[in-house]
């Protein structure tokens, strides 16, 4: 019975075989997504005062370190997510963005301990912090939509992990782009709002794992189902 059911499945799969377009390498696909993010950054830069942003960032090491941290987190998390999206990969890829994420979090936290105010900045009011939240979440939606469409083309075996790392890439990218419109110094409330926005993007990505990658989950009990039917 068993070899017969394997034979039936193999015959069905091979008889219905269609040519497929081979997936491009994960690194190349990650670079394509990052190119879209870079294009959005270029578009936002056209509306932002880039010179003022530059002056703000170089005034305090924690500010530019935080930007480097979030940028590297977005880049490494994107590469990790695309690597995780193919079957013959290791879960260790998920650790790739962690050092950059630690730099991002540590530099942002250190800024709160600084006693002087960076030039051309002020501490964000609650209303301004709310705008940061809206910016990160709203920009994350199109970035996540594109990233998940691209990831769905592949076939991840670690569904939850892939979705979480993809969420981290999206949130880090959105937080990096926020710097174009963020004339505020580091402050605990602002940092907390950023952290909540990033956490929400990652949590929503993870929560939607089944919806995003549902067709990639393991087929349940194929043989058992067949046996019970026979």
């Amino acid at each position: 019975m068993t070899s017969t059911s394997h034979d039936q499945l193999i015959h069905g799969l091979s008889a219905g075989l269609e040519p497929v377009r081979r997936l491009r390498r994960p690194a190349l696909r990650a670079a394509m997504w990052l190119a879209v993010v870079a294009a959005i950054a270029a578009g936002l830069a056209a509306f932002a005062d880039v010179n003022a942003m530059w002056q703000r960032l170089i005034a305090a090491p924690d500010l530019w370190l935080a930007v480097i941290g979030s940028t590297l987190t977005a880049i490494f998390a994107a590469f990790a997510a695309f690597e995780l999206s193919v079957p013959d990969t290791s879960r260790l890829w998920a650790a790739l963005p962690l050092p950059a994420a630690i730099l991002w979090i540590a530099a942002s936290g250190l800024g709160c301990l600084r006693t002087w105010l960076a030039p051309q900045t002020h501490v964000a009011t609650m209303g301004e912090a709310r705008d940061c939240f809206v910016f990160i979440v709203a920009l994350s939606i199109p970035l996540a939509a594109l990233l998940f469409v691209m990831l769905r083309r592949a076939y991840p075996l670690y569904l939850g992990l892939t979705a979480a790392i993809a969420g981290l890439a999206v949130a880090a990218a959105a937080a990096t782009l926020l710097n174009f419109f963020h004339p505020f110094d580091a402050a605990a409330t602002d940092l907390a709002v950023h952290a909540v926005a990033v956490a929400i993007v990652i949590a929503v990505s993870s929560a939607l794992t089944r919806r995003i990658f549902g067709r990639h989950s393991a087929p349940a009990g194929v043989t058992a189902a067949r046996s019970s039917a026979n």
């Binding site: 068993t2 059911s5 394997h6 039936q8 499945l9 193999i10 015959h11 069905g12 799969l13 091979s14 008889a15 219905g16 075989l17 269609e18 040519p19 497929v20 377009r21 081979r22 997936l23 390498r25 690597e83 193919v86 079957p87 013959d88 990969t89 290791s90 260790l92 890829w93 592949a154 076939y155 075996l157 670690y158 067709r215 990639h216 393991a218 087929p219 349940a220 009990g221 194929v222 043989t223 058992a224 189902a225 067949r226 019970s228 039917a229």
Partner: protein, 194 residues
């Protein structure tokens, strides 16, 4: 550092890679030969993961379906056997988890089963179930081929639409229509008989 890529690939592995590359281009014969060879390899990989013998065939079928759906992700420059091994190990873990969850809920106690009578046992039930099953199968035998196949795979075998579409080589929409018509016809037959 992340992906295991043997420097010296065996002749068998190179042949499998070539077969998979041909399968990606639509070569059905190469694909069928490759899948048949995969069965014994998957059994070895699953056994090495500690999958119980009675669950090995489940792993084999899950891996074959995964290989089919993920075939576009395979890069022929890389080891096919390594690619298959990782998929088999992952699907073995899925099956082991499912078995573990079942064991946590269910108790295996043959002595209790033999020593205590089931208060809800109904000696007539077996006969009724058999009669009902025969009635369903007799009614299904009168259905057109496509409707019967849709009912059998989607209802009796409880397979997903996506899996059924692969096995039957029909679209999900066509399967839904066949299932709907098949169930409607069965309802009509049973209503007449009752």
């Amino acid at each position: 550092m992340i992906k295991a890529e043997p420097r010296n690939r065996s002749a068998d592995d190179l042949r499998r890679s070539a077969q998979m590359a041909a399968a990606q281009a639509g070569d059905r014969a190469a694909y069928e030969a490759l899948l048949r060879e995969c069965v014994s390899l998957i059994k070895i990989f699953a056994a090495a993961q500690g999958v119980p013998p009675d669950q090995i065939d489940d792993v084999v079928q899950n891996v074959l379906l995964t290989v089919h759906r993920a075939r576009h992700t395979y890069d022929p420059a890389r080891s096919f056997t390594g690619w298959l091994r990782i998929i088999a190990e992952r699907r073995s873990i899925d099956v082991l988890r499912r078995v573990g969850r079942q064991r946590a809920r269910e108790i295996h106690s043959p002595l209790a089963f033999e020593s205590y009578a089931d208060e809800n046992a109904d000696p007539m039930r077996l006969g009724r179930d058999t009669a009902a099953s025969s009635r369903v199968h007799a009614a299904m035998a009168t259905l057109p081929e496509r409707q019967r196949e849709a009912v059998e795979i989607l209802v009796l075998q409880d397979q997903s639409l996506a899996d059924a579409a692969i096995v039957t080589r029909r679209s999900k929409g066509a399967l839904k229509v066949n299932l709907h018509r098949g169930l409607k016809a069965l309802r009509g037959m049973f209503a007449e008989q009752d």
